[in-house]
Every structure is written in C-alpha cells, then in structure tokens.
C-alpha cells in the first residue's frame, strides 16, 4: 500500500515536471482525455490509410454497387461499388487534413491582424475592424461558399476558403485579449526599457493570451470539419473521385432510403471527430484557465 502511494506520487511529480499543472487537470477530465485518444486514433488511421485500408478507395465494381455491409466489406459498398471502409479511412486524410490546414491558416492571419489591431489602435485598428465587421456580417458557411466560388473547386481552395472564413472571429478574439494585456504594467515596463514593439507583441503579449486562442482553435477544428463537409456535400468541396467525408454523403444522399449505409458511415465519422475536438476544447479550456485550476486544486471539482 505504502509503496503504491509512493509510486503514484513519484509518477505525479514527474508528470508535473514534464507537462505542468494543466496536463494533470486535463487528465482529470475523463471525457476530454478519452476524446483525445479517439482523435489521435482517427488521425493515425488516416495518416497510415495506405497500409490500413483493406481495398483501394478508387477501385470500383459497378455490378456490386450499394451492397450492404458484409464480412468481406464491413461498411458495405458505395453507389458505384467502391469499398466504403477504405474510402472512409482515406477520407479522414482529406477531412481532418483540411481542418488542420484551414485552422492553421485562419489562426495565423487572424491572430497577427488581431495583435496589430489591438496593440497599435487608432486608424489601423479602425480599418481592420471595419473589414472584420464586413466579414462577420455573413455567416461563416456562406462566407466559405462565396470564397470557394471565387477560388474554384479543389483541396487548396477549400483550405483557403474555410481558413479565411474563420479569420474575422480570430481577429475579434485576439484584439479583445490584447486590449486586456496591452495596459498591463509589464508591457509598460518593457516599453520603458526600450524594447521594440515586435518584442513586446510576440514575447510579452502573445504568450499571455495564447491559451484562449488555443482553446478557440480546438473548437474551430471541429467546426471546420463540419464546414468542409458541408461544402463537400454541396459539391463545392474536393472534386470526385477523391474520398472526402462530406462529398461522400453528398453523393450518397440519393440512396438514403434504399442504402442508408453509404451516408451513415462517413456521417458517423464526421460526428465523432467534430465531437472529439469540441470535448477536447472544453477540457483544455478548464485546464488552461488558472482560475479554474485553483478550484480543482482545492478539490471542489
């Protein structure tokens, strides 16, 4: 008994040294912790799709189209007789990859513009904010549709469209956070000691506002998967025959009644992935918020 407690303590100490407090709090949130593992699993499966998928995602057999799930083909065959399991596995690459790339793009642009807008204020702030207002007046999905229409259909333009459509909210979020931190004494101290604006922005302000942005990004990963799938469903996503989850649902919807499995399996994966991202976001939010951390240390949660 004694030994086991000692062992547990040592493990905890080592974890604290490695990841800090927030990892322990995140781990205590079982739902978020399990979601993280599911997501890592889905990501790994998509990454190694070439080795895992039992069949080619492109090879078709029109005679066996819409065959329901069987032992040979666990997810069944799609509308022109391609193995649905293989397509779902390969599709993760596009759906999740697009989400990561789009959020990375959107966050980079949005955060930088938000930092500039909030830090300098004045006329630069006004210009960026009016631009943001204009973009925010359209719903995210409509904005993405508009951008795809302009950029044309394809993986790259899908990433750019979905990424750019998240920019205005990143600008707003970052600007708000910068306004809070900008008037902190340590920012003034840095200025008084003659440090450059770029130093102050990237070394003193950005690290202090990083956690809400990270949390927002996890939520956005979930949202962009939905947007990308939505565009795919509308035929504005990746062109066929590329296996992307949204596009798969879009093409399978004609057979929704007769062969529901064509729509169901990609749908389930979209659902699980988006849900996992959101649950991880919740976990991270609790873990990275120092006020929350205090309650957890006191054992109230």
């Amino acid at each position: 008994m004694e030994v086991r407690i000692e062992e547990k303590k040592r493990k905890e100490r080592r974890e604290k040294a490695l990841f800090g407090q927030w990892w322990r709090i995140f781990k205590a949130n079982r739902v978020a912790y399990v979601s993280l593992y599911i997501l890592i699993g889905i990501t790994l499966i998509s990454l190694f799709a070439d080795f895992i998928a039992p069949y080619s995602p492109y090879e078709f057999d029109i005679r066996r189209a819409r065959e329901p799930p069987s032992l040979e083909h666990p997810f069944g065959l799609d509308e022109i007789g391609r193995d649905l399991l293989s397509r779902v596995i390969h599709g993760g690459r596009y759906s999740i990859g697009i989400a990561y790339a789009a959020v990375f793009l959107g966050a980079s642009i949005g955060v930088i513009l938000g930092l500039i807008s909030g830090y300098y204020g004045g006329i630069i702030d006004d210009i960026i904010q009016r631009f943001t207002d204009a973009m925010l007046s359209l719903p995210t999905i409509l904005l993405a549709i508009a951008l795809v229409t302009v950029l044309g259909v394809g993986v790259t333009s899908l990433i750019i469209a979905v990424g750019l459509s998240t920019v205005p909210i990143y600008i707003r979020l970052t600007r708000g956070l910068v306004l809070q931190v900008r008037n902190m004494d340590y920012v003034l101290a840095a200025k008084i000691l003659g440090k450059r604006d770029t130093y102050i922005i990237f070394r003193h302000i950005l690290p202090n506002i990083a956690s809400p942005i990270i949390v927002q990004s996890t939520y956005y990963l979930g949202l962009t998967i939905l947007i990308a799938s939505g565009l795919g469903f509308l035929g504005l996503g990746v062109p066929p025959p590329t296996p992307e989850w949204g596009a798969m649902i879009g093409r399978g919807r004609e057979f929704l009644i007769s062969s529901p499995h064509i729509v169901a399996f990609p749908g389930i994966f979209i659902l699980i992935t988006a849900l996992c991202f959101n649950l991880i976001g919740d976990g991270l939010r609790d873990a990275l918020d120092p006020k929350m951390a205090k309650y957890i240390r006191r054992g109230r949660i």
Binding site: M184, D185, Y186, L188, K191, L193, G194, R203, H204, N208
Partner: protein, 319 residues
C-alpha cells in the same frame, strides 16, 4: 553639469469632462550624480511627470508645452525610434509594484537579458553570464538558479531587485524611481533603498526619486521638490526644505510625518483640488491655514528666496 533640465513642462489630459492639467508649468534640473526627490499627494502629477520625461504619455494625454533637455537633446523633439534608443539605455525606471511589472509567464533572467537584446542586438544565450553578474550585484541569492525562475517563485523584495537589475543593466545616466519601496515590507524597504544608493555610487548616475515618504526622501536625496496640483510649490536643497519649510503646504506635509512625537495626528484639511477646475489664485488656498486676501485672486509665481524656490504670496514682497 546638468544632466537633465525640464523647462516649463505642461502635460494635459484632454478628457470629455474637460482638460486635466496634470503637470502645469514645471521646471527643474538634475545635476550629474545628484538625487532629486519629488514629493506630493496622490494626484499631484508626480507620476505623470516621470512618464513624460520618458515620453510615455498616452492619448488623451499630451505634452503641450515645454522642453525636456537631456544631455543637450530636447527629448520632446526626438522621433519615436530615437526615443526608444534612450529608454532603458540612458534613462531607465524602477517601478512601484514589482508584482505587476514583471511578465508572469517569462523567466526572470530572460526578461533582464531582453534589455541587452533590445539595445545591443545580442543573442540571449550570450548575455546570460552578464545577467548572472547583475543578479549578484543586486544581491539576489543563488543567481545561477534564479535566472530560470518565474516571477511568482520570487519574493516581493527579490522581484524588486530583479527590476532594479533591469534598470541598471545598461549603466544609464539617469534612473527614475517611481515609489520603488511603497509596495514592499518595511524591513525590505531599507534593503532596497541601500541597494539603490549603492547602485547610484557605482554607476555615478543621477536619480529622480518619487515618493510619498518624506522621511525617506529627507534621508537620501540632495534636493527636494514638493508638488501640489500639478505645480511646484517648493524646490530646494533637501536639508533646508526639510528643516525650514517656507511654503505652508510643505510645512503641513512635514508636520504630518512627525506626529509620533505629538498626541494627535496633524492632517491637512480638505482634499486635493480637482485638476479640471483648479481653484483661482494659489491652488492651495482653500486648505491653507495662512491664507490672506490676495491668495484666491492671483496665482503666486515661483520666486527664489534664501537659495530656494517657493511659490507663495507670503514671501511675495521680498522680491
């Protein structure tokens, strides 16, 4: 030799409610190696004055008039880039509350190293030795380890020492101390004041020491300037001002710190005046025990008397 000369400085804040004349026509100078004390109540313009020397007044505040001559250059006319070069290198500052002036999520040593990085384009890894030496100088125990500590791992006194090391890193000519001890324990205050004196001797720097604590100022400063409602009311050598105050306000301030020897605590009646609508005439007259007919009509000018400057009608006739 004069290292800093401020001439007729006016700093106003333009608010919707009106214009706040936070610093209204202040002139003074700091000699090389001298410590100038600035005292006054809250809201008398001390901190605004300190920030305007470094040109850190943010809108709606503005330096509307006056010259700040530092080593022959008028700081009010420099570009923002030239000003940045001066901040931290030639003029630096130590702050009131060490808890809020350090970035909470950055290691202390790296924050100090950044000063070298910003001014000498040095890589952080190459200046860490210098930071360790600085920490030794300001008597931070175990400096090799402390440079990797986060601010919350240090005590208040240690944090203030770290901030002082930042301020003296580039051997500035002028250090502005904005109430450097008021957030610290009394026992630590003395240590910090002694450290500041040592640093001053070592660097042969001049200092502007802003504080509420007249007793402290009387101990360490060479000259003393008393401010009231944005104006200088008395300015002269510390010994004379402290032992023989001319202005009724100075007198009242000094009386209020010598209360231990008396039965009741002497206070100054009333409150500091609004800076948007300051009283006519002498700004102190509504609270002045020695006021007479002319006080609420004309504003007294700063006159020289017995080798010091006083702004009071009591001494008007002697000019």
């Amino acid at each position: 030799m004069k290292i800093l000369e401020v001439r007729n400085l006016k700093v106003y804040y333009f608010l919707h409610r009106g214009i706040v004349k936070a610093v209204d026509g202040v002139s003074f100078s700091v000699e090389e190696g001298e410590i100038l004390g600035i005292a006054g109540e809250s809201g008398s313009g001390k901190s605004t004055l300190a920030h305007s020397i470094l040109r850190l007044i943010k809108p709606p505040g503005e330096i509307v008039e006056g010259e700040i001559i530092f080593q022959g250059k008028d700081l009010t006319k420099l570009s923002e880039d030239e000003m940045r070069e001066i901040r931290g290198r030639d003029i630096s500052m130590v702050f009131q509350d060490p808890n809020t002036y350090l970035n909470p999520i950055m290691k202390v040593g790296l924050q100090v190293a950044e000063v070298y990085e910003a001014h000498q384009n040095a890589k952080i890894e190459t200046v860490l030795d210098k930071v360790v030496n600085l920490f030794k100088k300001v008597k931070i125990t175990d400096p090799e380890k402390r440079i990797y500590s986060y601010p919350h791992e240090l005590s208040g006194g240690m944090k203030q020492r770290a901030l002082i090391s930042m301020a003296v890193a580039l051997k500035p000519k002028l250090i502005i101390l904005d109430e450097p001890t008021s957030a610290l324990d009394v026992t630590i205050q003395l240590e910090i004041v002694n450290l500041l004196k040592e640093m001053k001797e070592e660097l042969n720097a001049s200092m502007i020491f802003i504080s509420h604590d007249l007793e402290l100022l009387s101990e360490i400063t060479d000259k003393l300037m008393i401010m009231y409602a944005g104006k200088v009311v008395e300015y002269g050598s510390t010994k004379e001002v402290f032992n023989n105050p001319k202005h009724p306000y100075t007198e009242a301030l000094i009386n209020s710190i010598k209360y231990i020897r008396k039965d009741t605590l002497p206070t100054i009646e009333g409150e500091p005046p609004s800076l948007i609508n300051p009283p006519n005439g002498c700004r102190f007259h509504p609270r002045c025990p020695k006021k007479f007919d002319i006080c609420d009509k004309t504003e007294p000018s700063l006159i020289t008397i017995d080798g010091r400057k006083v702004s009071c009608h009591l001494y008007g006739e002697e000019e």
